[in-house]
């Protein structure tokens, strides 16, 4: 994630830190969470210590944990994540749990997102001769297709939030409500998009993204200006809750060098 700005408020924190705090709030106590890489790794640790002590984390490399790793992680397969795990196994068992319907919430990242929450992490431009070749799905397409709901964490830039993605790597609501069912996906879809500027939710009647909250220092207008389509705004739109001092302390304990959140 790029360092866009540091907010000028009473308490200094970075966009990445408010994103982690917002992501942690998406985790409900007792949920089975497919934890992605980078910021969600910290969000899971934060949620465990704040409001979701009974959440369980699944890591696609083949790990199940009910405690945060004892040390900061850079990747999900770092040795501290394996120490004290509930289960160290094969990836297919994690994916099997996902397809079998056991996963409440999955986190994924995105390079390009559209108004119906579809994500592209594969090709910008024509796949035959791409303008940019992105790394690909990893497990993101599986998580987006098979979890009960998923949350996206990404940088907010006009060129990234587009009317329609060039290529659907990870399916959102396709072209609107009813699409997932039509293509054969049995459940799920995006529930929140957490960006460097705001949090988007989705209107259940249309499957279209709506502005749920803007981070301190932003406004409805500033977020809409940085979005590549005519972004709808929720009736109860409000400012995103800032991370508390306690939350910031925990976040910084898990990212002491600020590798992900500075």
């Amino acid at each position: 994630m790029p360092r866009l700005w540091i907010m000028d408020t009473e308490m200094d924190y970075t966009p990445q830190e408010i994103m982690v705090a917002a992501a942690a709030r998406e985790i409900r106590d007792g949920e089975i969470v497919f934890t992605g890489m980078r910021l969600p790794l910290i969000a899971f640790a934060l949620a465990k210590q704040m409001h979701a002590p009974n959440a369980v984390g699944l890591f696609e490399c083949g790990l199940v944990r009910d405690t945060p790793a004892p040390e900061p992680l850079y990747t999900m397969a770092d040795p501290p994540n394996i120490a004290g795990a509930l289960w160290a196994t094969r990836m297919i068992n994690m994916m099997g749990l996902l397809q079998r319907g056991a996963v409440d919430l999955g986190f994924i990242g995105g390079a390009e997102l559209d108004r119906f929450g579809n994500l592209n992490t594969s090709y910008l431009g024509n796949p035959e001769s791409p303008k940019t070749k992105l790394p690909g799905s990893g497990g993101a397409a599986d998580i987006a297709g098979l979890s009960r709901r998923f949350v996206v964490i990404m940088a907010h830039e006009k060129r990234r939030l587009v009317e329609r993605v060039d290529y659907i790597t990870s399916p959102g609501f396709g072209d609107g409500q009813g699409w997932r069912e039509r293509v054969g996906l049995r459940q799920g879809g995006p529930s929140a998009i957490i960006t460097t500027l705001c949090v988007l939710g989705f209107a259940s009647s249309t499957g279209e993204a709506v502005l749920r909250s803007y981070h301190p220092g932003q406004s409805v207008a500033s977020v809409r200006a940085e979005t590549g389509w005519d972004l709808r705004v929720a009736e109860d739109v409000h400012e995103t809750e800032s991370p508390t001092a306690e939350e910031l302390t925990i976040i910084r304990r898990y990212d002491p060098q600020g590798f992900w959140t500075r």
């Binding site: 490399c61 770092d78 040795p79 196994t89 094969r90 397409a141 293509v183």
Partner: protein
């Protein structure tokens, strides 16, 4: 019968030009970088690389011109994001064009699981609605003959060789691996043969004292390479930690074609083997990756 040989011999004998090779099967850990670097030094061409995510190993092999085709869920740099060599190959044909068959982590596991089962394909609900089947013509959309619902058929993969880094092995290739294993087992069982790269060679008795920890049957193993430090910069549980900074250095240096050539020279071409690489890495840096503490599992009783 001992299958111990040098990495040089193992690659020369069992990874010929045009092979399909699974590497990086454990995801971010246990990546057989030493084997990849030997493949680059030997200038093996026209490889098909198969894996879930390979961290920077596939990017390196692509940049060295060894690869004709990639069958993978993700190719890049886990610490830094994009892989510059993968991008150059796909976007500009440098060093040459690459054939890409896109997968997700789940579908590449299913393809290898099917391969290991000797089954033609396995159905899934994953990837329905995505554009991934459009850039992997092997997939087939179908209808379940039981429930009538839409499904995706993932065709099996049976690679020529799986190269798997493990903690320890006996000289016959009975190998113990622990930690998160990704698709190591599926890769081992799907492939025609297996090259085991081990941190330690241990007596046979140690392996058979804990048969549940064995990765795959040794009759499929064609070579055992004793290569301590062979997974660096990826981690090996119980042996060393991940060298995060190394991935960032790679990302910075390989941004340009010239930088990539420099990196390849420095870390691959100009070192003779893994021992030379570790010497170049230096004692201080290796110390920094050492375990801070041991965490031994409780022994289990196989008594009867």
């Amino acid at each position: 019968m001992s299958k111990i040989m040098t990495m040089c011999d193992a690659v020369a004998r069992f990874v010929p030009r045009g092979s399909s090779v699974v590497m990086g099967a454990a995801l971010e850990s246990l990546i057989p970088f030493a084997a990849g670097h030997e493949i680059i030094r030997r200038q093996v061409r026209d490889l098909t690389l198969i894996g879930p995510i390979s961290d920077t190993l596939f990017d390196q092999l692509i940049g060295a011109g060894c690869v004709r085709k990639v069958i993978a869920a993700w190719v890049g740099n886990v610490s830094a994001g994009l892989g510059h060599n993968y991008r150059r190959a796909c976007e500009q044909g440098i060093p040459h064009r690459l054939e890409v068959s896109d997968h997700s982590n789940f579908t590449v596991s299913l393809a290898l699981l099917a391969g290991g089962l000797g089954a033609p394909y396995i159905p899934t609900y994953s990837l329905l609605g995505t554009d991934i089947p459009g850039t992997n013509p092997g997939f087939r959309q179908s209808i379940s003959p039981f429930g009538g619902e839409k499904i995706l058929l993932v065709p099996s993969l049976q690679p020529d060789v799986a190269i798997l880094h493990v903690q320890r092995s006996d000289e016959n290739g009975n190998a113990h691996a622990w930690g998160s294993l990704g698709i190591s087992e599926e890769a081992a069982l799907a492939s025609q043969r297996i090259i085991i790269v081990a941190e330690e060679i241990v007596p046979h008795q140690i392996i058979v004292s804990d048969p549940n920890r064995v990765l795959a049957p040794s009759f499929k193993v064609c070579a055992v390479v004793h290569e301590p430090g062979g997974a660096h910069p990826s981690p090996v549980q119980g042996y060393y930690n991940r060298d995060h900074e190394y991935y960032h250095e790679y990302h910075r240096t390989t941004r340009t074609v010239e930088g990539n050539a420099e990196w390849m020279g420095q870390w691959v071409a100009d070192v003779k083997d893994r021992a030379g690489y570790l010497q170049k890495l230096g004692e201080e840096r290796r110390q920094g990756l050492q375990l801070k503490e041991h965490r031994y599992a409780a022994p289990v009783d196989y008594g009867y």
